[in-house]
């Protein structure tokens, strides 16, 4: 004797504090038929321990009362986004999202579409009953032309509301999905096909093949305003005329095109179609075993932590010029030298659209004690490489401060009283030395020559060399340029 009975569901459903054996679905609802098949497939395939269902908002919201497996109940429209998080967090689990016309077709369409496009490793069951069930039978993106809903009381007019959204047809244009199909639960034959398709969805996830979408046409007798049998007929006749059933993509079986069809072993073993470009290719990611190993190497200079020294006064620097003149790296160079001297150090760039507009500036604060305000309103030292930056900042310099400006900048404005002005032919010297890009190194030479930083020459030089860490061939060249510039400045 054999019994055909429900598998994979809880025996009782504790909804609203009451134990019941019936679902919350209306009589003749397609969700109920699908819910039974999903539970049965999950159980028959032995996947209940490994499956994480991501539940929607909509008529499918209560599947967590029914399916005997772990559930995460997502926000409206976001089941595919949440499922992305789940399958990334638990790549060994089987992740199944369950969504309806509003959840997937409207509010969450882009989340579902982008997840499909990324080839997230979850299966998405999309119930298409051509309207919004839970909220009271409103128009959905999938509503048929002429179909009457509570928000299309005269029938859906394509001139005003467009045409029904064909989710499978759209998703099957994407490269990543390995399976896209549309089935129905309107009659016995279709229900059994649906079961096979749900099984396929689980298989694909169990074997970690990739993204799969299964659209299921389902009758909604309540909101169609029909008895369950007429609703099923509507589903077969009217809905299928708009939404033909079929497999749009099954990569393993060679149905439809897919660029990424995994054959075994999951993501890393995915067979990749050769890239379109001969020059652009994914590079292997260097791997590290721990944070200590990854971050254990200094990026710039290898400096010790700062040491408090109240005898060292705070000094604030502003570096300004045109993008490409090496203004930001000049600032970092001074900051790194300060770090080598165990000073508290802060570097701050101009950023955002002003940086993209061509001008560049940065601030550096160096102090013997922890630094308070990071902003440099009144610099002790101002280095300017072009006219606009000179005119903008020169008036702010502190009494007793220093301004170093490139000789190409006309002195249209005089610095405040008590501020020393040095005009340095940094751009010209760099050109004369045959390295036009090294104007910032010339400025560093000037900072050293005029004792403007309060930092040891040795540290400034070490910091300069460290700034060329990634281009070692430039280290000695710039060291040489620094010395030649200093000699030239001393002679001047």
């Amino acid at each position: 004797m054999k019994t055909i009975e429900q598998k994979g569901m809880y025996q009782k459903f504790p909804r609203s504090g009451k134990d019941t054996r019936v679902t919350h679905y209306c009589a003749g609802c397609g969700h109920g038929i699908v819910n039974k098949l999903v539970a049965e497939c999950c159980a028959e395939m032995g996947l209940q321990d490994n499956t994480i269902f991501v539940d929607p908002v909509g008529c499918g919201v209560f599947t967590y009362y029914y399916w005997d497996a772990a559930h995460i109940s997502a926000a409206h429209g976001r089941a595919s986004a949440a499922a992305t998080g789940v399958c990334r967090a638990r790549p060994d689990a089987v992740t199944i999202a369950y969504q309806g016309d509003g959840d997937l077709g409207a509010i969450g369409f882009n989340n579902a579409f982008q997840a499909a496009s990324r080839g997230e490793k979850f299966g998405c069951i999309f119930i298409n009953n051509s309207l919004y069930g839970m909220t009271g039978g409103q128009m959905a993106p999938t509503t048929l032309e002429g179909e009457k809903t509570t928000t299309t009381p005269f029938g859906r007019d394509p001139a005003l509301t467009g045409h029904p959204l064909h989710v499978c047809e759209v998703f099957s244009q994407l490269q990543a999905p390995v399976y896209v199909a549309r089935v129905s639960v309107a009659d016995t034959k279709r229900i059994m096909q649906c079961k096979q398709a749900i099984k396929r969805l689980f298989e694909i996830q169990r074997d970690r093949k990739g993204y799969a979408l299964l659209e299921i046409l389902a009758p909604c007798p309540t909101n169609f305003g029909m008895n369950p049998l007429k609703a099923a007929e509507f589903c077969m006749n009217e809905m299928e005329a708009e939404f033909p059933l079929g497999v749009f993509r099954d990569a393993e079986k060679g149905v439809g095109g897919s660029r990424s069809c995994a054959t075994e072993g999951g993501a890393d073993a995915q067979e990749r179609v050769p890239p379109v470009s001969a020059t652009l290719a994914v590079k292997p990611v260097p791997r590290f075993s721990s944070c200590a190993e990854l971050f254990g190497v200094p990026d710039g200079v290898d400096a010790p932590p700062a040491v408090d020294d109240p005898s060292v006064p705070e000094r604030r620097f502003k570096f300004a010029g045109y993008g490409g003149q090496g203004i930001l790296s000049l600032g970092i160079c001074v900051a790194e030298a300060a770090r080598l001297q165990k000073r508290h150090t802060l570097w701050f760039p101009s950023y955002g659209p002003e940086q993209r507009g061509g001008s560049a500036s940065c601030s550096v604060v160096v102090s013997g004690m922890p630094i308070g305000s990071p902003t440099v309103e009144h610099p002790d030292v101002l280095v300017c490489m072009n006219q606009p930056s000179y005119e903008r900042f020169v008036g702010d310099v502190k009494r007793g401060g220093i301004v170093i400006v490139d000789s190409t900048v006309p002195i249209t404005k005089h610095p405040p009283e008590g501020v020393k002005l040095y005009q340095v032919p940094a751009i010209k010297m760099a050109e004369d030395f045959g390295v036009p890009k090294a104007a910032n190194t010339m400025m560093l030479a000037a900072l050293r020559a005029f004792k403007a930083t309060g930092l040891d020459d040795e540290h400034l030089e070490t910091a300069l060399c460290a700034s060329f860490k990634k281009k070692p061939q430039l280290v000695e060249k710039n060291r040489d340029l620094l010395h030649r510039a200093e000699a030239a400045l001393a002679g001047a």
Binding site: A70, H71, R78, G85, R88, A89, P298, L346, G352
Partner: protein, 353 residues
């Protein structure tokens, strides 16, 4: 290991040391370096970086990953933070640990990319729907961007709550020394409630829905008790405040302006100190009351006064009605930062000097 890094990068380093396994994010200035760092370093440690299609997706991806029992994070700025509020409410409603970093830019609307603290209310009071709060920490240096990100993960896991690291555009961009931790934190075990795709978590259900009004109220009571208990982990610091006649109250980057202001005024012989809440929620109310009792109070802030109002509220709730009534504020908006000069002038005025 001490490194000279951008604060935004320090956030990523902190997250990795804290055991964060997944980063979900959508780029936005001035928070993008966090995504850049995560995109590079998470995969290098075998962890996961996903560039989401929008901030709504980011926060819901976190809902999924946190629901599946892993530590995860995102980073954004004002407009993206607004988009995430619904999802943060869901995280709170399902009691999921996750870390959201908000690098505040100027608003409202598109605003600009310069620093403000104007996201105060959503970052501190729970910006989405329903009775929820977040654990909100306000770093003031690159070191703290690392350390308080780690703290945020610890608090998120301890209290099963979304935690917010609340900083601003200026902080995000600046470079300072960061001394990295010696050890990575062990991964917390969430198997008693998370959906992990294993036999032992099969019966677990992650949800924020309580259809029954009575059950929803019981859950709300539970949340409120939890938020009261969180006060035990409130954090604050004071500077030169012991004998101060005027206490400047400020958080984040503004607290550094406050520090320089206090130093400047001390050099002129004026007794000025600083009280700085490090956690904005839970607000360190008792410590504020202790530092502020009988003193003159001035806030420095980069918003329209949301923080000053919160200071007044916390003083009033501590029984310091007179102090609350006399809280003065100096503030800038639009991406402008309060200058030390202006703060000094304001403090002198309050002190009648």
């Amino acid at each position: 290991m001490t490194k000279f890094v951008k604060s935004n990068e320090a956030v990523v380093m902190g997250a990795l040391y804290a055991g964060c396994d997944l980063y979900f994010g959508y780029p936005i200035t001035p928070a993008s370096e966090i995504a850049h760092g995560a995109a590079k370093w998470f995969p290098m440690l075998g962890r996961t970086f996903v560039q989401a299609e929008c901030e709504t997706a980011s926060v819901n991806m976190m809902f999924g990953a946190a629901g599946a029992g892993k530590l995860c994070m995102t980073a954004t700025s004002g407009p993206g933070f607004s988009l995430m509020q619904e999802g943060i409410s869901y995280l709170a409603g399902a009691e999921l640990p996750a870390v959201i970093v908000d690098i505040n830019r100027a608003g409202p609307g598109l605003g600009n990319v310069y620093p403000e603290q104007s996201d105060y209310t959503p970052a501190v009071k729970g910006g989405g729907h329903g009775n929820y709060q977040t654990f909100t920490l306000a770093p003031a240096s690159a070191q703290e961007m690392c350390d308080l990100t780690i703290k945020a993960f610890q608090m998120a896991a301890k209290w099963r709550t979304p935690a917010v690291v609340f900083a601003d555009g200026l902080q995000g961009q600046m470079m300072e020394n960061v001394t990295l931790p010696d050890e990575e934190l062990p991964r917390p075990d969430f198997s008693d409630w998370a959906a992990q795709g294993e036999a032992k978590t099969r019966q677990n259900l992650v949800k924020s829905i309580f259809l029954d009004a009575a059950a929803q109220e019981v859950f709300n009571d539970h949340l409120q008790r939890k938020y009261e208990d969180m006060a035990a982990d409130a954090m604050a610091e004071t500077y030169l405040a012991a004998d101060a006649e005027l206490v400047i109250v400020a958080f984040g980057i503004a607290s550094r302006v406050a520090r320089t202001t206090a130093e400047t005024l001390r050099r002129k012989g004026l007794k000025v100190g600083v009280f700085r809440p490090i956690s904005l929620n839970p607000f360190p109310r008792e410590r504020l009351a202790a530092a502020a009792k009988g003193r003159k109070i001035m806030t420095i802030e980069l918003d329209a006064g949301q923080f000053a109002d919160d200071v007044r509220l916390n003083l009033a709730k501590s029984g310091l009605g007179a102090e609350a009534a006399n809280v003065m504020m100096i503030h800038r908006m639009g991406g402008q930062v309060v200058t030390v000069d202006d703060a000094v002038k304001a403090a002198k005025m309050i002190l009648g000097k």
